[in-house]
Structures are given as C-alpha cells and as structure tokens.
Amino acid sequence: MRWRYNFLFIFLSVLFVSIIARLFYWQVVKAEMLSELAISQYTGVREIAPTRGEIKTSDGFPIVANKVSYILFANPKEIKNKKETIDRLSSFIDIDIASASSLLNSDLFWVPIKSGVSAKVKDEIEKDSPIGVGFEQQFNRFYPEASMAAELIGFVGKSDEGKDKGYFGLEGYYDRLLRGKEGRSLEIRDALGSPILSKRNENISGIGGSNVILSLDRSVQFLVEDRLKKAIESYEATGGMIGIMDPQTGNIIAMASFPTFDPVNFQYYDETLYSNNFIADTYEPGSTLKPIIMSSALDAGAITPLTKCPICYGPVSVSGYELHTWNDKYYKDTNMIDVIKHSDNTGMAFVALKLGRDRIIRYLDRFGIGKLTDIDLQGEALAQLKPKNAWYDVDLATTGFGQGISVTPIALLNAFSAIANKGVMMQPKAVSAIEGPDGKIIKVPTKTRGTPISEKTAKIMTEMLVNAVDNGEAKWARVKGYRVAGKTGTASIPVEGHYDPENTIASFIGFAPADDPKFVMLVILDKPTTSIYAAETAAPLFFDITKELLTYYGIPPSE
C-alpha cells in the first residue's frame, strides 16, 4: 500500500515542478516577447509630423506658409469594381488611369492614388461615398505671393528617407530650424479599436518648426520684380537680376532674378534655374568695379581727386596689350573726378598701376572681393582672386576697369555698400529674426564685416559718384531733385579665351539719398539687345526703381 502513496507523491511532485518550470518559461524567459505582442495588439502608435516653419517678410506676412492637402489612398482588397472606382475618381481629379488601375490591382491593403488633393475636392469625393477609398492629411508648402523671390526662398523636396527637406536659398540654409521635430502618440485601445484612458497613454509632443522672419520688404520686392520683368522684355535681354541692401545694417531689402521658377512645381523646371544667380553667378563687373579701385587708391594715398592722368591722351599700351576707352574718346590731363564721370578705362588703368599689385590685392581683400560674403542663403559661389604671383601689369590695368576679374553680384554690392556707409562694410543677411514655436522672437544681430576705407575716403568717393550721375553718360535718366550716387558698367563677356564682340552685361550700381543712404542697389541685365550700353538699359531701370523707392520711403527732394 505504501508504494502507492510514494508513487502518487512523486507523480504529483513531478507534475508540479513541470508546471512551475513552464510558468517560469512563459513568464520570465518569454516575458518580453509576449509583452511586446500584447502592446502591439492593444496600443496604437501614431507619428505626429511637425508643421514646417513659415517664412515671413519684414511686415510679418508669410511669403511661404503651409496648406492642408490630402493623400487620396485606396484599399484594393475592399474595392470590388476597380474600373468603376477609377472612373468615378477621375471625374473629380486628374489621375493617370493606367497607373491607378495597376495600383488597384496590386495585392496590398494601402496604395496612394494621388497626393496634394485640396480640401474642397476631398469633400466632393467623400460626398460620393466611394468604397475602399480614404484620405490622409498632409501639409504642403503654400506660396501666397506665387513665385515672388523664388530663388531667395528655394523649395521643399524630399530627402532620401522620403521626408520633407529644403533645398537652395532659405529653405536649404535654414532647413533644420524650419523642419521641427516629430512627435509620437501611444494610445491604449480596446478590442474594437476605441481608445481607453489609461495612465500608460503616452504623448511625446513634437516640436513645430521655427518661423523665419526676413528683412525682405514685400512691397519693394513686388516693385523690383515687376520692373525687372518689364525691363528684360523691353531691352530684349536674356535675363537680369537686382539686389537691394540697407548699407547700415546689411539687411537684404529685395533680391530678384529672372528667369525664375515656380517653387510649387520646381520639378518641371531646369535645375539651373534653382540657384540664386545673385549669389551663385560669377561675372566680370566692368566699370561698376571702378569705384572700388578708385576708393582704394584714394584711401591708400596713391592719388587724390585732382591727380591728373598723364597717359590718358590716347590708348594705353600695357605689356603689349592696347587698352581703349569704351567710346574711344580720350581726355588729356583728365583728373580722377572726370575719370569716373567719363568711365575712362585708360584713367583707371593708370590708377590701378599707381596703386600697385600688393595694395590692390590687399584692398580687394578688405572689400571682400575674392571671398564669400557668408550671406545666410544656400548656394553662394566663390569667385577667387588670382594668386599673387600670377598678377602681371596687364592684369592690374584691366582690374582697374573691372575686366579680367570675377565677382558675384552680392560680393560687389556688399563691397560698394562700404562707400555708402562711411567706409564700414556690414555683413549681408536675409533673415532679421527667428520666431520659435513658442512665439519667442530672437533677433539676428547685425555684424560689421570690416572697414576697407576711411569715412573721409567714402565721402570723397560719394561726391565723385554723385558727379558721375549728374554729369555722366546716364544723366538723362537720373532722378531730378535728389542726390544719387552711382556708376554704370558695360562689361564685355569672356568667351573661350576672348571677349564677345556683340554682347555685354549691362549694370548699374548706386545708392540714395547720397548724404544718408537708405538703400544701395545693383541692377544687372544680361545681354540686352536693344542697346548694349548700361547707360541706356540698366541705368534707366535703376533710376526708375530709385524714384519709386524714394517716394515709398517718404524722402523729400533735397534740391
């Protein structure tokens, strides 16, 4: 009998130990796996995409905002009559029937049919109550002012991971600030999928993107784009660009370039149009560089305004090259004031040779020529200067009148602004403040880049430029009643080792009012055909805009 008790005891003990072991296996060894399975069953994780920050002009108007749109998706397994569904959808939106048909025939639960569907169209489709079709909300970039300042702004495309990413201009430069941070919502749900209030609900809030506030004046930008477009048509140029800056702060007031692109449909435009020509193009500036060279020579004491040019009675020969004036007119014993007034190439060759290689390179460096301006825009190009040992006398002479040297328009505008700002060159910037997601505004401080020339030199140069406007070749177009300082530039274009005999880059650079400049502006027209001369193309455009700006800023005439 006793053996029966022992047998039962051993049997039950073994059973008990087996159960304990099995419980240990499922509750300890496999605990993590089972926990994850349970969580996936009763929780739902939702990624919360952050709203991309807006880009606003100086008046607080969002020139780039976000608009609600929808991805139209379908569940092919729910749709019985695929042809009928496609026909019904195509009556509301423009869809590629072949690719939609192929998507609906796939063995998937979710296929995107079309993105960027507006709220109005979504409501219309929903009224039709199609089976197996739904909408997912998304935000797309919206441009209330259409393609205004497109090159300055850039555009938003997709990264390799399929996430929104800014390219070129401000969208590219400030992408991390604008992008924000994704959030996550973890919800506990019951068997029917309804949410349950539980302490395990988790919300990791995303951080919305910061807004970028520009120094760009929307009204001025509108005016500039309108005038530039009309001038390009009127003078039959291939393109053009204008940049306007506040010389006292370095703030960009306006920046326009044509031809341009539509940032909404950027993919349909040539890639070459994406870059901002005003910061990315290099060109030989021609006579618009003369004020930089002249003020360098004045500041260095190499010449005075009344210094006479002993070689200006005819073409100048330098190292076997013959240098002419633009109109083959020569003025014997001309002084420096008249060299600027007549835009005399031989006079400027004299000034450059007098300044000498070392000093010219040093002053160009002080003016930021041959360096990046570090403006807060993506895509700035660098136009490097030749190394010191590659400068010969003919290079000095041609640099004197702005040929044989390359600059970007922004570098030239920035350098010239030093003359307008008492010799002080400010750091150019497009953004004046950043507005955080909490509404806090952080101003971007102004910064001095350098002091290439003294205040006295700047004053003298200003008077020479005012004289050039009042009495030079473009005097017919000047704004009467105001003192405007400026210089024309009709630059030859280098083509395969020589200069194009038929085309030029016509430009005008200047500031107003001369005694207390409110703005400095560079106007460039690329290959105008009605006239190749800046005095007949770029100069009238400059003065047309200047007249409007003086009225806009409420500046009364001084004369």
Partner: protein, 94 residues
Amino acid sequence: MKKSSFVILLFIITIVSLSVAQGVVSNKLSTKGVILHEIEKKVYDYKTQNSILSEEILYNSSLTNLASKAAELGFGKLREQFVLNSGSSLAVKP
C-alpha cells in the same frame, strides 16, 4: 474574540466597499476614451478649417492678388507727386 471579529468585519467591509468603488469608477472611465477621441477629432477638424481659412486670407491679401484685382477694377498708378516743404502762407500778396 469579539474585538477580533469586529476588526475582521471592518476589513471585509473596507475591502468590499473599495472594490465596489473601483468598479464604479472604472465603469465610468471606460467610455471616457471614446469621448476624448471625439474631442480630439473636433480639435483636429477645427485646426484643419483654420488652416484652410488662413490660406484663403493669405491668398486674398497677397500683393499679387491685390495688384491683379486693382487692375481689373481700373485703379491706375499715381502719376504726380508733390512735396510740401514749408508751411503755406495765410495770405499772398497779388
């Protein structure tokens, strides 16, 4: 004995009443998730409507749109401007 019975009875009553209370509260709370979800949906809908209205406002107040509407309505550019530099005279000698 009586004292210990009393304590045990007290514990039983406390446990039972707390259990009942938990049951009542959990029952009331169980449907709140659905209400919260509906509130969140309403907030989401209002935000979407705000976004759409904001888009309309921005488009209508844009300079591009205003310039086009102004041209349609016949507004033209101001041709003449004048500047008042000094105070005007009270009377002028003929």
